[in-house]
């Protein structure tokens, strides 16, 4: 097993095919990154949604308590 390119510049250009190869791998990073991040960000938004609901519920509970005290 050996590195097939003599220099880093050659590695980047890949004898003219560089742009195509790198574009593909870059696209793969984007696609996989999206697939990884999408459920995580969704989870976050569900969490904030839940927190907001809890806050509203707490507030309503507090108001009810105030009313009954008065």
């Amino acid at each position: 097993m050996q590195f097939r390119f003599d220099s880093f510049a050659e590695f980047l250009s890949m004898a003219g095919h560089g742009p195509y190869v790198w574009a593909c791998y870059f696209a793969a990073v984007l696609a996989l990154g999206y697939i990884i991040l999408a459920p995580i960000s969704r989870r976050k938004s569900i969490q904030t949604q839940l927190l907001r609901q809890e806050k509203i519920a707490e507030q309503q509970l507090a108001m009810q308590n105030n009313n009954s005290n008065a």
Partner: protein, 246 residues
């Protein structure tokens, strides 16, 4: 006994708790494989005599195409189970499989097109495989659009399950037809699969396919877990699971 297991599998809560431990492992192993094979493919794989360096794209294109195809079947089977046994979890798997499959299909299409430029001198050739992948993308987009169109989740699940099952029956027919159409219109001048692939190149390709399958499994589980949280948001265990960590 078997049925008990089946019903437990259908319980979102059980599924969520069971898979928690697997998630980091699945992701790290799959990424490890994908990244190391990518490095090998980019820097260490020998150059192809005919196609030069552009064939390094194959290590992305072939696995994504295969997994994108498999994802459709996973989606359809999940939909079928959801219809027949009315299993909630199965419907969720079906719903989340569609966008993942669509992204992978789009990636397969993109890499195929970019690979075509240095090989055939043009980005788009109406070759049998790329045309089939394009139609697969349309099938995915149809399922996603249908899922989005319904406001009632139960109806959305049923509708997209029926559509994906119909698509499953159709896919082999579409592929065969497109193949047949291609041989009719294009004499075998453009042929991109090298007939014999050296084992030195084959094993990394196989590893990459496994890596992508593992990654897809992780993605499917992860998205399903989010979907579970959304749909079961009113239950106590979801509140606990989410608020403890907040």
């Amino acid at each position: 006994m078997a049925w008990q297991w089946f019903h437990r599998l259908g319980s979102p809560k059980w599924f969520y708790e069971k898979t928690t431990a697997w998630m980091p492992w699945l992701l790290s192993i799959s990424l490890l494989i994908i990244i190391s094979v990518s490095i090998w493919a980019l820097g260490f794989a020998p150059m192809d005599a005919k196609q030069g360096n552009s064939y390094r794209i194959m290590y992305l294109h072939v696995p994504t195409s295969i997994v994108a195809m498999a994802a459709y079947y996973v989606m359809a089977i999940a939909g079928g189970i959801g219809i027949i046994w009315k299993m909630k979890l199965s419907n969720m798997v079906m719903k989340v499989a569609a966008p993942i499959g669509a992204v992978l299909t789009a990636l397969a299409l993109f890499t195929g097109a970019v690979w075509g430029k240095p090989t055939w001198g043009t980005y788009w050739v109406w070759d049998a495989r790329i045309t089939s992948v394009l139609i697969l993308l349309f099938l995915y987009l149809g399922v996603i659009a249908l899922q989005e169109a319904f406001s009632d989740q139960e109806m959305a699940d049923k509708a997209s399950a029926i559509l994906s099952l119909v698509g499953t029956v159709n896919i082999p027919i579409i592929y065969k037809s497109v193949d047949w159409w291609f041989t009719l219109h294009q004499p075998a001048s453009i042929k991109m699969t090298s007939s014999s692939i050296a084992s030195e190149m084959l094993y990394p390709l196989l590893a990459m396919i496994i890596g992508f399958y593992l990654f897809f499994t992780w993605a499917l589980l992860s998205a399903t877990r989010s979907e579970i949280l959304q749909r079961e948001i009113k239950t106590k265990w979801v509140k606990q699971a989410l608020l403890q960590k907040a």
